[in-house]
Symmetry: C2
Subunit: 601 residues, 2 copies
């Protein structure tokens, strides 16, 4: 393509709408334009990047034996009602756009396709002889994000590859999952990204296990905890670790102490001269189940540890069927506002005891008729501990479960792992932290959707068995932007060769110079002929403008038909390193072909 004929408009100024470097650069370099909140046009350069990423994804999917298809974006509400997700997706979380057609039927705009693909499998897969099957598609998806931002990172319309596997049983499902896991590693490696695969929470998709693929970047919205030996990495939402050891308790006998002005852990430890590891902290939440039931939640956790609310939410979901529901629709963090309300109800905040007073529980019956008590593992075996006395300005010391306080019946992991913790697999490894952008997520769904929709197959014995499913997503447009977030400098984008919109740009410093033009035209034709995707900057602009644009756009190799022509050479500049070398005109094609081959192996 000739730049003189291309719709390319680069901007000098950062766009006001953009917060993070990759977003600014994609707008400035003419890759994307905002059309509405969280909605972007992919301009020709961006479209080429997206096609490159899609093609890598496609090749790796096909290599696993997965078959490409395309499912509808308009999804009948019936299917989502069968899976039980319609209300959660359109109302409670509200992330699915919904609309009414001219026949007054409700439709959703697909944010994901478990329901549709399971309905297809229900019709088409009948026998064990048809298994395994994996289908995938590369498609624009929709989410009515609460706060669309960061350009393509958190848009309301974005491109995803989603794949779904169908297997006879959990063991076979696990094999399909492992194949996809490998394919995802291949995709990210081929795209030239620094990344980590991490253990992840399965969220609203559900299922028994999942991994996220995180592109490492400072602007990432996710925190990753990992060990240097490469054996452990997890999203902080899911991460586990060994808590620090407990220091010996200085209190050997039970006693109630006046501890004025010690609402925080720090203050009470200082006042009592003990370690936070000697404390049992009692934290309150309010949870609303989808059945409508509201419960007051009391969590016991060691004084030096924090509650991981994603883990807590998952533990509560497990209890949902006791409360006539399937999930919880809100978990209220005890923020300042809530605390004030609670204080008004005479709760001694900062001094709550593990045995929350019956008075208080009773006083909450109108708003939270149910009461659930959970203990984190960190306090299960704690002895002679310090904790609140249920009276403002008082703590108890030397307390023990089974003595002063009832032993908790529900002991679970709701603890937040943090940087510096010792790893479970090896106490010599401590957790490191990094920021990441989630660009992929793979799930072992099991039979959640096949049971809900009745997607079964007949096994060799003639029994009807629900299909074991997996689902696997890559954010194609998000991946493309995350590549920029990971690789840029003050002058612009630095694409990896594999996903750059073009491999090379031939720049004519002065279009009034016939020799420069002739050499450039020849190289431009020869390079494209040889499969080196090449732009020709034949615009009537100053050389400086052209160099700046090529750096902003981030084309890996720049060929300049300038002064060196006198020696039968051109200048070739590598974008990433800015290394410059003079290459004989006759060797430009073979040189670039070699470099490209090396860079995309």
């Amino acid at each position: 393509m000739r730049l003189s004929q291309m719709l390319l408009v680069t901007l000098r100024e950062d766009p006001a709408e953009a917060e993070i470097p990759s977003h600014k650069l994609l707008v400035r370099a003419g890759y994307i334009r905002r059309i509405g909140s969280g909605v972007y046009a992919y301009l020709p350069l961006m479209w080429r990047v997206l096609q490159k990423v899609s093609q890598i994804v496609r090749e790796e999917m096909n290599a696993t034996g997965a078959q490409e298809c395309l499912l509808p974006q308009l999804q009948p509400s019936d299917l989502w009602k069968e899976s039980g997700r319609w209300d959660t997706y359109t109302k409670a979380e509200g992330i699915m756009f919904s609309l009414i057609d001219r026949q007054d039927r409700e439709l959703g705009l697909g944010p994901t396709h478990e329901e549709v693909i399971t309905a297809i499998a229900r019709e088409m897969i009948r026998s064990y002889r048809q298994l395994p099957q994996t289908l995938y598609q590369i498609q624009t998806k929709f989410r009515d994000e609460i706060r669309p931002r960061f350009g393509l990172m958190r848009g309301r319309e974005f491109i995803m590859k989603d794949a779904y596997s169908f297997d006879a049983d959990e063991a076979a499902m696990s094999e399909s999952y492992q194949k996809m896991n490998q394919a995802y590693h291949n995709i990210l490696r081929r795209c030239g990204l620094k990344f980590r695969a991490v253990d992840a929470d399965s969220g609203a998709i559900g299922g028994s296990g999942s991994q996220e693929f995180m592109v490492l970047a400072d602007a990432g919205e996710d925190e990753i905890l990992y060990t240097d030996d490469g054996k452990y990495a997890a999203n902080v939402e899911k991460a586990v670790s060994m808590p620090p050891d407990v220091e010996p308790s200085p209190f050997e006998t039970y006693e109630k102490r006046e501890t004025p002005g010690t609402e925080t852990i720090e203050k009470v430890c200082k006042f009592l001269n003990c370690s936070p590891t000697n404390l049992v902290k009692n934290v309150l939440y309010q949870a609303v189940f989808d059945s409508g039931t509201t419960a007051l939640i009391l969590v016991h956790i060691r004084g030096d540890q924090g509650v991981n609310e994603v883990k807590l939410q998952n533990e509560l979901v497990k209890l949902a069927d006791h409360y006539g529901g399937k999930t919880i629709v809100s978990l209220t963090v005890p923020d300042a506002d809530a605390q004030q309300k609670w204080a008004a109800k005479s709760l001694p905040l900062g001094y709550i005891s593990p045995a929350l007073s019956d008075d208080y529980i009773q006083s909450q019956k109108d708003v939270a008729p149910k009461f659930i008590r959970l203990a984190d593992h960190t306090v299960a075996d704690l002895q002679n501990f310090v904790t609140g006395a249920d009276q403002s300005g008082y703590h108890v010391v030397g307390a023990n479960w089974g003595a002063q306080f009832q032993k908790p019946s529900l002991v679970v992991d709701v603890r937040k792992a943090t940087v510096g913790d010792r790893a479970l697999h090896d106490p010599n490894q401590t957790l490191q932290t990094a920021r990441g952008i989630e660009i992929g997520h793979i799930f072992q769904l099991g039979t959640k959707y096949s049971k809900a929709l009745g997607a079964t197959y007949t096994n060799e014995q003639g029994d009807e068995i629900p299909l074991a499913m997996g689902c696997y997503g890559v954010g194609v447009s998000r991946l493309a932007q995350s590549a920029v977030e990971q690789s840029y400098d003050k002058d612009g984008i630095i694409w990896s060769v594999a996903i750059a919109p073009y491999h090379a740009v031939v720049v004519i410093p002065n279009v009034g110079d016939a020799a420069q033009v002739a050499a450039a035209e020849t190289l431009y034709a020869e390079l494209n002929q040889a499969g080196v995707e090449t732009l020709l900057d034949d615009r009537n602009e100053r050389a400086g403008v052209k160099f700046k644009d090529s750096e902003l756009i981030g084309i890996p190799y720049r060929v300049v038909t300038g002064k060196a022509l006198n020696n039968g050479k051109v200048e070739v500049v590598k974008r990433a390193t800015k290394e410059t070398e003079e290459v004989a005109i006759a060797e430009v094609v073979s040189t670039l072909k070699h470099w490209i081959m090396d860079a995309t192996q």
Copy 2:
């Protein structure tokens, strides 16, 4: 791909939902599955066909210098309000799905992209130096069809290629249009389709001229009129022709005659012993302008001719600004119901005169305050004609404009051209008729959208000039199905080689025969290696089932590793003709490569 591993389910029975052959075949052969009304899943075979068609479209677009991009499907209502189409598209015609997001903003789901692309051009194109530009995308689009049917032919979600050109003036726009016209011819030829490019009505898109590309098929929803010399073809909605000659009027003097029971042209001609060409027929309509104004419309047309309501609608739109609007939102055909209502208001139906009585016009003021009178060219010069007397059971004969009736001031073409009419370009050519499926439509838009949205550029003289636009659509998914509608037999689909999902299928008649399996596996590998896209039917099924499936699916070449193996040969069957020949195993690859090259030139 091995059929043993592919999700392929073929059906013996025609699906109940399908009316036309191509729809039945695509469902039976496992290409598509219905997910909801007008909404289909494209299964792996279909997806390959769609990719083939898309790639041909892409290559031909790129050859014109057009640049591929991808625009959002979610479109802010603001842009459609700027162009004045929001209400027409979401309410009056209601073909655009609309929805409300969580911030209570209105969004439309794009059925077309003039607004979005013009908004981009407005921001990006500033100077004549950037022109011309053509952008295109291949994308899923949405229409809330009143009656979705015929599978992919009239779906609510479908794949389109849409392109938009931006030029400095009408002359340059016309050049861009001609390039696209040529590209469209190339696309259809390469897809192996029999088609016609026809003059077309521009409809709701607007602009000064347009052509439709019609795939010829009996099930087509459109009627085409054309001449055998290839010089004229038009959609019947737009077609023009010479009307038959007028026969001499048998009436030389004006007279009112009693003509009892002659409400139809046929009856009055018989009664008065004259030709229908001697009659002026007066037809009533009711039109509602977007300004809210309703008008009573009286059309004069020759007795042997019919009114083309699309042409009438276009003439009325030209008058819209007199009535404070831009377009008309409904044109009521005088159906039985309306006629009864009118009869109740003492209108002598069947005997209306060109001078519609003031009494009647007055009586309609409450429902239709405006009155518009239009004459078709066929009656402009008619002399001594017969027409209604505005009294039930009476006609007048020997009437003349300027004598008994006021000469019509608006003389226009609202006549329906019909098969057998003489062509305008050559009276020796008569119009022929054919049915077609509209798969493409190209428009010279002019400045309609650029003026509405303020998309201008600065010319060499420094003046701000609105961009001259064209827009160009191909229904990719509709094209794929129309190819089936044009090419099938009792056994199934007959794909052209260029868009078949695979070129060849190697069938193992008996998977228990090691020699058959070995030969097939070798050929399967060699063919794919040589770029012949090949399936392997290695299923444990009877040979008959496999042959039937390969014919139903419509793979162009079938290679059978059967009895001929004994002579070092395989049987190769051409799907289209069922010709069978034995080919030496060593020559299969080169033979098929030659055939494919010949078929896709």
